[in-house]
Subunit: 411 residues, 2 copies
Amino acid sequence: MTAFATAELINTGTELLFGSVINTHLAFLGQQLFSLGVRISRQTTVPDSHSIRDAILEAAGRCPLLLVTGGLGPTTDDVTREIVAELTGRRLEYHEEIFQRIKARFDRRGLQLTPPISRQAHVPEGCEVLPNDYGTAPGIYVPGTEALPHLILLPGPPRELRPMFDQYAVPIIRKLAGKNDLTAKVFRTVGLGESYIQEMVGADLAAIEGLELGYCARLGEVDVRLIGSGESVLRGTELMQSRLSHYIVSDEDRGLEEVVVKLLTKGQVTIATAESCTGGLLANRLTNVPGASAVFLEGNVTYSNAAKIRTLGVTADLLNTVGAVSKEVARAMAEGARDRAGANYALSTTGIAGPDGGTPQKPVGTVFVGLAASDTPTEVEQLLFPMDRLSFKQMVTQAALDLLRRRLLGI
Amino acid sequence: MTAFATAELINTGTELLFGSVINTHLAFLGQQLFSLGVRISRQTTVPDSHSIRDAILEAAGRCPLLLVTGGLGPTTDDVTREIVAELTGRRLEYHEEIFQRIKARFDRRGLQLTPPISRQAHVPEGCEVLPNDYGTAPGIYVPGTEALPHLILLPGPPRELRPMFDQYAVPIIRKLAGKNDLTAKVFRTVGLGESYIQEMVGADLAAIEGLELGYCARLGEVDVRLIGSGESVLRGTELMQSRLSHYIVSDEDRGLEEVVVKLLTKGQVTIATAESCTGGLLANRLTNVPGASAVFLEGNVTYSNAAKIRTLGVTADLLNTVGAVSKEVARAMAEGARDRAGANYALSTTGIAGPDGGTPQKPVGTVFVGLAASDTPTEVEQLLFPMDRLSFKQMVTQAALDLLRRRLLGI
């Protein structure tokens, strides 16, 4: 088997072309494949129809490995399985084992099995089944021939595709792709803009021989990606750490909430939250981390003034004089949440998410983020994120989590 | 000019194939084009290289309109302009007006104009310039010929592409596409599996002449999409409503949280939440809806038993005898939140999100969802969602929001 370095990706799904769903498969698979030394040279989206056949045949002449997502479900518009069987001249074979897995899944949830479901237990003969631990449709690996590339068929839902890819497709691709000495490191940074980061490290990183450099900006965070030989990535890493030190949240692709929960756990300290404008997102992000229950005591989503008074002990007098969106109320909220829960730390947010509610003095996007601790004075940051409601909430929670991260690290 | 109903989309950008950036162009353009009666029949992503030429030539034989994004910037890997000039046999012409626009933009930001920037002032002769009000690279419309489809070139950054598309590309496409009577309707359903829905309506919908049918399953919800003539969509709509009535959350592409906030607002009633296992996601989803502050009073994320006792009035005795994950505690939490906030309704969640904490009697995924109201007895549903932590949280909030939706509708 010869080693190869490129693959193509076909995403099937009328809903993708229609714009109902954003295609996140390319981003996920592009990153994962690269870490295996394989680059995606082309990606194509086609409807759930016979276009799938055309797209597979066109790609066949261009690449040694072809990944196809979607069209493996139980409904009549799921036709990938049949098309691949036809193209490869393989019969669809019933697999009792797959059927039993699907049945067990339905039984666990107390659901009735419908006849179309059993379509998913059919697989082109002589192919390898990739079990689906998070759904019903299994993936399929069809070994390549003279005429066709190696085919890996994966289900469409990302929460099924991703673990299946990691667990079952990666070993196959690793074997097919052979060895390569490329390594990659991703630094997650918080608190600096993309162009500012580029100015701080871009030219010097680009000067390291054999190092490929990439940036990826998301809401409130920027990833810096280094790819190259072990030696060049090591040099890049040293440069990143000396220049961006405190701004680097993780060099292991960990999210800010994960880093914060880990620091709290390590320090055996606890946290409570008092949220107004973020409406529960801060608590939600913290509790997304497995093991959060050891450090997260209580979250208060005090949206109304009455709730701020009743639950957090903010005084009506304070709310009347300075307003709910103020430094003083952010402080009182954080301290109230800390005292109420008996937590070591408490974070608070109060601001104007919009689209309504802004004033000339406090325009939409104005926010105060508070951090109370059991052993130091309360700190409040005033920030401005003039953007859509959901982006605003995300940015405010980034600021709050990073405030706590820096406190926990003493930086 | 003949009317047409399909287009293809080519996205250029090595960063897209590498997975650094999620491609949101297809979702945006797919929706916008559909509203003009044009469907995207295929989308392709290629690197910043000569592959752009191949992709344009391949698409040329298949579609009357081709949109190409990216590769119009100032750097050496931006080659779309040159490739299109070559393919169409047009010379690149310098446009003084474009140059002045770019210069003014730099002057406003106090930036120095660099020589490569002026590349962007070159446009294939005889083409229409689409001004860029949010960046430097203009878009370009190249009228179609016998050999090539109509070409619309747009810059890669979404914040430049989107307004440019709306303002300058839409009028061109509207003229080219002519009139057509295609309409679309998307039904969002909650509470039924994809295969079960197909069994209930699939065959009869498929039997309606001229109606195209599609399904899209997400966590805890399934969209059913009908596309066709006004008459066929109307018949499909009647069928959907008579068969799936209560399970249809929206036929206007609204999320469950949006529908619930709208119902609460319309009924002038209020809501509070008491969350354990969902950790704030329920409050977060409700407060993602603009205007939620009129109906959402307070959210309590009572992760610890101490918080359940202190904030919601759950008794230590109850927690000791039946455990935090129980019907009785779900009831006490909902009633405690309702009474505390003085709300008309309160939702509660208590369960085992995992990965740890399961027992043989209450395995990971077990959850109780409670609904207390000011005028009716409290209702508690026991459910089982044995899946990863984030999916579990999403499914539980779907169940909770749908419980309230059905109550508010009296169904």
